[in-house]
Symmetry: C2
Subunit: 547 residues, 2 copies
């Protein structure tokens, strides 16, 4: 009763002769497998309908099934990768939550007590990709991370095959050393000297920013580690009104209170105004707060603005404040000879957040916190758990860097990045960044040439962010004011809604301060070409023309 | 000048006719590729010596090279996977940091300005695996996470191919729904009713535990989010002396102070003693502290002990304290009908940490925090960033769960777990857990039968942890006391040192309290059989016999 019916379905649930006949896992001979693959089943997938996961390694004799299964998976993934890179394919095939939950074409998200066959597993893999969003598509502009770097992907596949952990040199010797190599490389690129610089890879830019505040607090008040915030004065943090919300989030998590994050005013293009910082610091001191930390941003989330780092560094120096640069998004520009001057002064920062998973195109996730002063990260976070960080190991235990982390187990995020650097060289990253910024300039030019588009701010974008409104024909004659704003506020969401339904392109929008909903286009995908920029504007026009 | 010399090297640096001749990335025709692969190069790898990463997709015409490259990678990974599952292979091939940094057989960790060929990239992949630790080997007992689940691996490969982010339903519709399905499933298994339960996947057990304290603090003192710890009384946290160090680490990060984590005494087998908890609470109150949170452990890190949850729940109820259960390691036992009674009372917890990447064998990393009261996680962490969490989206935005997180971008850790559940069913996880615990029982029996071994505590292990000393022949007659202890303390590290050099097996050791260095064996790898347990004991005897 092995053959449980048709296994030629190409989507959804695999048909079963008798649905009550649950398959019990048991090892099957390779011989039987061949019979099945060649004779019984009429399908494009080899017949996995009789195999279950316990037939895979480490099952004795499982090599053959394992190889075939992973080859079949590779074919599915390759099909997706190739399709993703074609402009003819959709960016997404939108369904509402309730539709996906009801099960589309037999794709069921529900989990049961009994195992599924390997064939069903492969079908589930294909369906998962089918109903997801194609973030590698050349016309996916929705997020700061986009594209699919094949070398990075190879790195991630290897990482998961190695399935190790960044605790200690003992379990991850190669990855620990790669982390050291990359951190040093990045510190050098930031502009720190060889005898300074420390850091760690961590899960995302928000956690990187959190580290910077955590370490800064410890630097000024080491007693906080044991005694907590109540032993400290009321600290104040400064960041620009255009900066990322992670500064406030971190302050809340760290027990410092989000209201003690003081928002410094920006100029029209989203850059922090240094005199505003200076006066905020003075005002906070007058209110009895103790300023200790300033976050400057290299590449704000919406506008892509770069704060004036040297001016901010002067102020921090004058007041003895920790200067952090959140270069999560803008750090990539350091790789480009053409654009790195936009980060002038970053070398004066005491800590830097940099997300290779954004502008450098490393697969998610890959984020770094760099700390200028060595040893601080370890002192701030170490607890010396003896089951992991034994001092009587037979190697140099300074390589057991896991106690620098606020995590215990830590995913290996470094290898894909290392491999990409090997494959591209620093120069390759530079070209990639240049190309993204050329696309942004092209969009900026097109927006000025085409009718119906309006820039949110006039200056040429410094990063790859381009912010704009689409003004439908019926609104073009309207005078500025609340009525126009109310109508304009609804344009971007409505166009986006149609975009999602059509699946042709994806771009983000948001309001900001007194500005109603506008589109933010960002370029970080090396697959994107000028024709995609043209397509985006054509599509917005087509979808918004009647609004 | 395309053919840069020999490309038949099987390890290390690919030979180049002229090392100064740096290869410039440029697209190559598929035709040229075939000529190369069939004629020019004498190698087991197809000739990638003329291709570089810019020949891969999204390069125009890059499909062919992409497919060949990923197939070649798959062969390397499959070779590793198959070798890993063979007992004849080594667990590790140890090298000191300075040896790896100097470059072994041409394997260079250093990064340069110029790109490498795809051939070199594949060689680097092979070398990275070669010098790493084989965590999937049936004789790797070093960490709570071990083994290599092939379905989980497939899930991780797909995840990285999809390269998405858990921000919003908009970019990760399928993964967001899978997270919901799994969280509900796990909440049900913990024993919570359908109308309670919330949670999120997060990067590791320490961060999960940190969430529990963060949310508990917010529950009692919501003003902490905006005003910080200084607006609160001095809070106290209770956890057992055998619990994981993440409780202290979290208290330090959250600004609560590690000294305000009060360590409750345990019995001989590592379980928290309820009357000790009660008296600690009373004593803390008398000192002016405000108790608010108790961490109980399901499966302590070293002993694998389960705290008495019902007794602890009674005490928490009496004092109106938040009860958290850290089931990072022990949660997996809930999947087994045979063992789940060890977690009796866990359903009374207000939050639970559970790491599927430990006992359930999900690839790293996969960790969950479950919170009983709905909405708390969102209220505690949300900041409502308008560029991500627009309220005017065309779908039910309650599915944009990203603002529950302390992260912004969040890696997709859920898919591999979902896929494994599909493939195994709940029952499959149960059998896997049972098997690991059978191995532990077998080891426990063998230790009592063999000469030269001594158990650290007499009771049968509750989890798969087995703690023991090896007593070399010369020490067997020594009376208990400081002299014997001093010598015994050195035995485990010295055996481990030799183990690492031989690479035959890997197991952890540590001191604990007044107990000198002892081995801790843990079973979470379904590949491990009784013969591996025998091998471990034989090997310890062989390596430690002369000490």
């Amino acid at each position: 009763d092995r053959n449980t019916g048709g296994c030629n379905s190409q989507t959804g649930r695999v048909a079963s002769a008798d649905p009550r006949n649950n398959i019990t896992p048991r090892p099957l001979s390779v011989f039987f497998y061949f019979v099945c693959a060649s004779d019984v089943c009429m399908t494009f997938l080899p017949c996995y309908c009789i195999f279950v996961c316990t037939d895979l390694l480490p099952a004795s004799g499982g090599e053959k099934v394992t190889k075939e299964f992973l080859h079949e998976l590779l074919n599915i993934l390759l099909g997706y990768i190739c399709k993703s890179s074609r402009r003819s394919g959709k960016v997404l095939d939108f369904h509402h939550p309730h539709q996906l939950k009801e099960g589309l074409e037999g794709f069921s998200l529900q989990l049961t007590d009994k195992p599924e066959t390997l064939e069903q597993i492969l079908v589930d893999c294909r369906d998962t990709l089918k109903y997801g969003v194609n973030t590698g598509h050349p016309r996916f502009f929705n997020q700061l991370s986009s594209g699919l770097d094949l070398i990075g992907l190879a790195g991630e596949w290897l990482t998961s095959t190695a399935n190790s952990n960044m605790f200690t040199y003992e379990v991850s010797p190669v990855f620990i050393l790669m982390e050291e190599v990359l951190l040093k490389k990045m510190q050098g690129i930031v502009g720190w000297s060889d005898d300074e610089g420390d850091g760690i890879f961590c899960p995302g830019g928000t956690i990187s920013n959190l580290y910077s505040i955590l370490v800064a607090r410890y630097y000024f008040y080491p007693e906080v580690k044991t005694r907590g915030m109540r032993a400290l004065p009321q600290l104040a943090i400064f960041t620009s009104e255009h900066s990322h919300y992670s500064v406030k989030k971190s302050a809340a998590v760290l027990g410092m209170g989000s209201e003690n994050v003081l928002m410094v005013k920006c100029d029209e293009s989203g850059k922090m105004i240094p005199v505003e910082l200076e006066s905020s610091i003075v005002a906070a001191e007058e209110r009895g707060l103790v300023p200790f930390y300033v976050n400057a941003t290299a590449g704000t989330t919406v506008y892509g603005a770069f704060d004036p780092f040297n001016d901010i560094a002067d102020i921090c120096h004058g007041h003895n404040l920790w200067m952090h640069v959140d270069a999560a998004w803008g750090g990539g520009l350091l790789m480009s000879d053409r654009h790195r001057m936009k980060l002038q002064g970053i070398e004066r920062a005491w800590s830097v957040t940099w997300n290779p998973h954004k502008m450098m195109g490393v697969p998610l996730q890959c984020s770094v916190i760099l700390i200028k002063k060595r040893g601080l990260l370890q002192d701030c976070n170490e607890l010396g758990a003896e089951y992991l960080f034994q001092r009587d190991k037979p190697y140099d235990v300074s390589y057991d860097t896991g106690d620098k982390s606020i995590q215990c187990g830590r995913h290996v995020d470094v290898f894909k990045f290392w491999l990409m650097w090997k494959a591209k060289g620093s120069e390759g990253f530079g070209s990639q960044v240049n190309k993204c910024l050329e696309n942004a300039e092209y969009l900026y030019d097109q927006l000025q040439r085409r009718t119906g588009f309006e820039l949110v701010f006039k200056n040429k974008p410094e990063h790859s962010n381009v912010c704009f409104w689409y003004i439908p024909p019926t609104m073009r004659g309207l005078p500025p004011g609340p009525d126009r704003d109310t109508r304009l506020h609804q344009v971007a969401p409505r166009i986006k809604h149609r975009m999602m339904e059509q699946g042709s392109v994806l771009i983000g929008y948001q309001p900001l301060g007194d500005k109603v909903n506008f589109f933010r286009c960002v370029f970080s995908n090396p697959a994107t070409q000028q024709e995609d920029v043209d397509f985006l504007l054509d599509e917005i026009t087509r979808l918004g023309n009647d609004l």
